[in-house]
Amino acid sequence: MLEIRRLKKSYGDAHAIGDLTFTIGEREFVCVVGPSGCGKTTLLKCMSGLLAPTAGEVVLDGTLVTRPPDEMALVFQEYSRSLMPWMSVRKNVALPLRHRSKAERAKLVDEAVEAVGLTRFMDRYPWQLSGGMQQRVAIARALAYQPQILLMDEPFASVDAQTRADLEDLILEVRERYDVTIVFVTHDIDESVYLSDRIVVLTPSPTTVKEILDVELPRPRDQVETKELPEFARLRAHVYRLIKREEARVAQ
């Protein structure tokens, strides 16, 4: 569905992304992990059409991506800066739906907000909500938009551990309900194994694909049971060692 072909992004002499190639299939949940500073955010921006690559291409359903495609939604890491402070939750979620009919819009907004569990807070303003709740609003907005593919840029990084666990489960539920493809960037290894069908492990800059692993853990996932499985520990350790080795290699 989404193909990244030999993607390269440089800023002058600084090669953020060296040569990236991988594919995302329909309805997959793919996590992208890597050491810090490996250009994960740059990758997402290129994938979403916000940034033009220096070389290579991003192809969505056979069409080249040159600007943010309609079928794609992006959830930013800094949720507080991506929500409009002058709009209520309802209006924020409805923002991308301007060209729909009023009835359709209301239905989509209600469903999305209900899916993230914030129906009671429809008419509140972002600054009245906690960090975790704000990120849910951002997710609701992405969902209401009805994208085919959802890109998420370390969305739970700025949230405390317990809230993060809740949000992880939320995104899994939402994926079931909306049947959407998800590309999830994170630096949290546990999270990447817990959530995904496949993990793409990146190298430090200039970034390339180190390895792509299949995650064959049973669904539905559970914060306790899944994490107790030996396969979980094995995958987790594998990814961890890959990343540590890469970091050590660069440090030399």
Binding site: S48, L50, R67, P68, D70, M72, A73, L74, F76, E78, R81, S82, M84, P85, W86, M87, L95, P96, R98, Y125, P126, W127, Q128, R141, Y145
Partner: protein, 251 residues
């Protein structure tokens, strides 16, 4: 200590007024009539004798000039804020024009437009333009890039984006500029009336001085003070309502 502060807040202004009243009651200087006399004259003149003949024309000119300035400044500020090349091109011209001390423009306005109402409205508008323009530009430039990226991702474009995202985001800064322009508007209203007018509060104050009607002159000065204060209050009230979200987000 806090209680003392609250008390002082009320007591000090009253004490100053009382002081003024007492000191001026005893003085028989021509220039500083007793406060009581000033208040008496104020009552006679402005409540509501000369409201129609002087206050209304002044306020109308003020409102018209200010409104024109707001519309043009925001209208020009938005494209300049969004386009770096246009902004760089316009920068020296804007910097020069806004540095001209407004009173120096009065003779120019008189030469070009004459001494009627349009001259006053024009010069108020010209002077009030710059703070709003500059702040509109700054406000738009200062919009968080994440907000802009959000609109790009979710396909919010054109006029919708301008109306729902760009303008509200720049609004706090624009309001700051509008506040400065409000005081400039009052100043230019008064000066233009002193220099070339046959009515208005500024005209009245100067005329009173020239005909040595000193209590009347003072009453006009007091009125201008009250006017300045009330306009400010009104502006703050409007700003609070429009920018309620901003206060909440930044508390």
């Amino acid at each position: 200590m806090k209680r003392l502060g609250a008390v002082l807040e009320v007591v000090v202004p009253l004490a100053l007024l009382a002081l003024w009243a007492a000191w001026s009651a005893n003085s028989d200087t021509f220039y500083y009539p007793p406060l009581t006399k000033i208040l008496e004259t104020f009552n006679e003149t402005w409540v509501f004798e000369r409201v129609g003949s002087d206050v209304v024309p002044s306020l109308l000119r003020l409102a018209a000039g200010y409104a024109v300035a707001v519309v043009i400044a925001i209208g020009v500020g938005i494209p300049l804020g969004l386009n770096a090349t246009a902004r760089r091109a316009a920068a020296p011209i804007v910097e020069f024009l806004r540095a001209i001390p407004p009173p120096a423009l009065l003779p120019l306005a008189i030469v070009v437009v004459g001494v009627g109402n349009s001259m006053k409205v024009l010069i108020i508008a010209f002077v009030c333009l710059w703070p709003i323009l500059l702040n509109t530009i700054d406000g738009i430039r200062g919009i968080d890039p994440t907000l802009n990226e959000t609109t790009r991702v979710y396909g919010v474009r054109g006029l919708t984006r301008l109306r729902l995202v760009t303008l509200p985001a720049a609004a706090p800064q624009i309001f700051a500029g509008m506040r400065t322009s409000l005081s400039l508007a009052v100043i230019m209203m008064v000066i233009s009336e002193m220099v070339a007018s046959t009515n208005g509060i500024g005209f009245f104050v100067l005329q009173s001085q020239r005909s040595f009607a000193i209590p009347e002159m003072w009453s006009g000065i007091v009125l201008l003070g009250i006017l300045g204060y009330l306009l400010n209050l009104l502006f703050t009230g409007v700003e609070r309502r429009v920018l309620a979200w901003h206060r909440g987000a930044h508390s």
